[in-house]
């Protein structure tokens, strides 16, 4: 490991800390002058941290900012405000040159295994390209050996390296994407909906693979998904996002057994369980309406227009994320 990426750990075992992260996108009008007429607050004051070796799940509906948060962590988007500390270093505004060695340590697995692989490259080169880009392949033999090792790690057979991505099924393509993400031996892997494009019988194979890899390589995952049962299965802790904010963070089991935030409760009630007997025993209370635009978010608590338990103060005061019984929740029902 190069010296400039050596971890200095002021914060115990936190691998990644995100503090007060904001990512705002300008909304402009006009073709030539591009006058700024507002902004989309895709991520607005989000804080969480990842311990080394854990899986942190991030859930929420489309537009809640979960993918934008991930892209900011990867420094593929410039944060508007806040701090991102990775392996003890503040990387929030690190320049491209200084960021480059750190990029080896944070890799990503994408949602769509069809569009995220270059169709004109053989699988071995798709997997090996990061080694070339970062100058980590000493010679051809070492390169080949590393690619073979990576393919073996994700359960691909050696001869498959000669083929092109289109010759593979969705599940196998996702294995290729995972192998590529692991090529640089990252410590943090951001998985953005890694199984949602796959068929049910294939999802379990990929979930198992991700868990096995975590165990043998000591990986830390930031796992983004909308499928709550998959997130619960793989995550140690889960953060629930709504319209650019984190509304609740709790251990996976606690979140499902005793969801605190009314939005978390509504989200859980909306997901039908694959078992009619069990499903009938759970609340089915629907929440009305849809997620409002992030350009004009409601004041106060952003969930208040849809919240069945909204109080007058919810319309004006933004609830902070506070600790309650080992979980964190941003809701006026829990004091704070």
């Amino acid at each position: 490991m190069p010296a400039d990426t050596a971890p200095q750990q002021p914060n115990g075992d936190a691998l990644l800390q995100v503090e007060g992260l904001k990512v705002h996108f300008p909304v402009t009008a006009g073709v030539v002058l591009q006058k700024r007429i507002g902004s989309v607050k895709a991520v607005d004051d989000v804080s969480f941290s990842l311990r080394r070796g854990e899986t942190f799940g991030l859930v929420g509906e489309s537009g809640c900012g979960k993918s934008t948060t991930a892209l900011a962590v990867l420094r593929m988007l410039e944060p508007t405000a806040g701090r991102i500390v990775f392996e003890g270093r503040d990387i929030t505004h690190l320049g491209a040159v200084k960021m480059r060695p750190l990029r080896r340590r944070i890799q990503m697995v994408y949602q769509d295994p069809f569009s995220s692989l270059n169709p004109r490259m053989r699988v071995r080169d798709v997997i090996g390209e990061p080694l070339v880009v970062h100058g980590l392949a000493k010679d051809k033999a070492a390169y080949r050996a590393r690619v073979r090792e990576l393919m073996d790690l994700v359960g691909l057979l050696p001869h498959m390296g000669e083929h092109y991505p289109h010759e593979f099924s969705g599940g196998q393509r996702q294995r290729i994407g995972i192998a590529r993400a692991l090529a640089l031996s990252p410590s943090l892997v951001v998985c953005d909906e890694p199984v949602s494009a796959l068929d049910v019988s294939i999802q379990a194979q990929v979930v198992n693979l991700l868990m096995d890899l975590q165990e043998c390589l000591g990986l830390t995952y930031l796992f983004i998904a909308h499928d709550l049962s998959v997130v619960r299965h793989i995550s140690d802790r889960i953060g629930v996002m709504y319209l650019g904010r984190v509304v609740e963070i709790a251990a996976g089991d606690a979140l499902f057994k005793a969801p605190k935030h009314p939005y978390t409760q509504a989200l859980l009630a909306a997901v039908p369980l694959p078992d009619p007997e069990l499903d009938a025993t759970r609340p089915h209370d629907l929440i009305a309406g849809e997620v409002p635009s992030a350009r004009t978010p409601p004041p106060g608590c952003r969930f208040h227009p849809r919240c069945p338990q909204a109080m007058p103060r919810c319309k004006v005061e933004t609830p902070p994320l506070v600790e309650r019984d080992g979980a964190e929740v941003a809701c006026h029902l829990y004091g704070g």
Partner: protein, 335 residues
């Protein structure tokens, strides 16, 4: 099967001519739907669930061909009808809701005109009356300020609202049968719940039948009365929803249910998987299509395709050579 079913599909076989040869997308599919009933067809991509649905309305296109079978709706064989006669049924007595509301709505027509169109077409109503009725329909699917939204274009609505418009269109002529092909797959879960509740409520009110095509076993559990599980073009199991979940009888159904993480299962445990992947429909094995992935496979499975047969309780059928008791014991051993 007391009253005659509203829809009776028997021995349906559909194939597509492709560069890779003949793809047998649907093979010998038989199923019935009664008035007021919700039948879920569940399966993974390529299982033939959508092709079965498209065959009912004869929307297969140039490449697809029905090779055998009958589709009897309300006493008429839909496959034998002339084009004009089937057009009179589409959107009138049988309506369809597609997955992606943005690509199924016409982007250059207002939603009012699109909802009014089937009423004008099938009921010969003047535009003014049809338009008024469209307003009522949008209200029924709970689009806020319905009358004011008639002049909106699809792009001005959210995904959930567009799917409500699709439902309003489908309901316009009070169909006896609604076919919804993955109606909520493109939507968020809280909106999915709203749409499915709405669909269920409105079909119940009108005593219409609903065919719900989905890959989501949770949606099936909450909204279906009966379920048909499809794999590689065939129905492998069909049963009343509760019976299916209480005692899945086909190894594929069992594998599928086991592979979904449950929300009260052990966190971090390895999920049971179905090894391999579905077969190429252009090169189907001679016997059971699931044989290659089945943990209980034996000689007969590789040679002869199994037929749907009673599996224990009434109305519960499965297509599997394995003896029912042995299957139960074997699966218990494995888990």
């Amino acid at each position: 099967m007391d009253p005659a079913p509203l829809l009776d599909i028997s021995g349906l076989c559909v194939s597509f001519r492709t560069d890779r040869g003949l793809v047998r997308a649907v093979q010998d599919v038989s199923l019935q739907v009664r008035a007021g009933e919700t039948l879920a067809i569940v399966g993974e991509s390529g299982s033939g669930k959508s092709v079965t649905a498209l065959s009912i309305l004869r929307l297969l296109g140039e490449a697809g061909r029905v090779d055998a079978g009958r589709i009897v709706f309300d006493g008429e064989d839909l496959l034998a009808l002339e084009d004009r006669a089937i057009r009179a049924i589409r959107g009138d007595r049988i309506a369809m809701i597609f997955q992606e509301p943005m690509s199924s709505l016409n982007p250059v027509l207002t939603i009012g005109m699109q909802v009014a169109e089937p009423i004008r077409l099938h009921r010969n109503a003047p535009w003014k009356d049809a338009y008024e009725r469209a307003g009522e329909l949008l209200e029924r699917v709970r689009i806020p300020d319905a009358a004011g939204r008639l002049g909106d274009y699809p792009h001005q609505l959210s995904g959930g609202m567009r799917q409500r418009v699709m439902i309003a269109m489908a309901l316009a002529c009070r169909p006896r049968l609604i076919i919804a092909d993955e109606p909520t797959t493109a939507l968020d879960v809280t909106v999915q719940a709203q749409i499915l509740e709405l669909l269920k409520e409105l079909t119940r009110q009108a005593n219409s039948a609903l065919i719900l095509i989905t890959h989501d076993l949770g949606v099936v559990a909450r909204y279906a009365d009966r379920v048909a599980v499809m794999y590689a073009g065939s129905i492998v199991e069909t049963a009343p929803a509760r019976a299916l979940y209480a005692a899945p009888a086909h190894p594929y159904t069992r594998g599928l249910m086991a592979s979904i993480p449950s929300i009260d299962g052990a966190i971090g445990a390895r999920l049971p998987t179905i090894d391999g992947q579905p077969p190429d429909l252009a090169r189907l094995p001679p016997g059971c299509a699931f044989a290659l992935r089945c943990p209980h496979v034996f000689e007969t499975c590789r040679a002869t395709p199994p037929a749907l047969m009673e599996a224990g309780t009434a109305g519960h059928l499965r297509a599997c050579h394995l003896d029912a008791d042995a299957a139960g014991a074997a699966v218990q051993e494995r888990t």
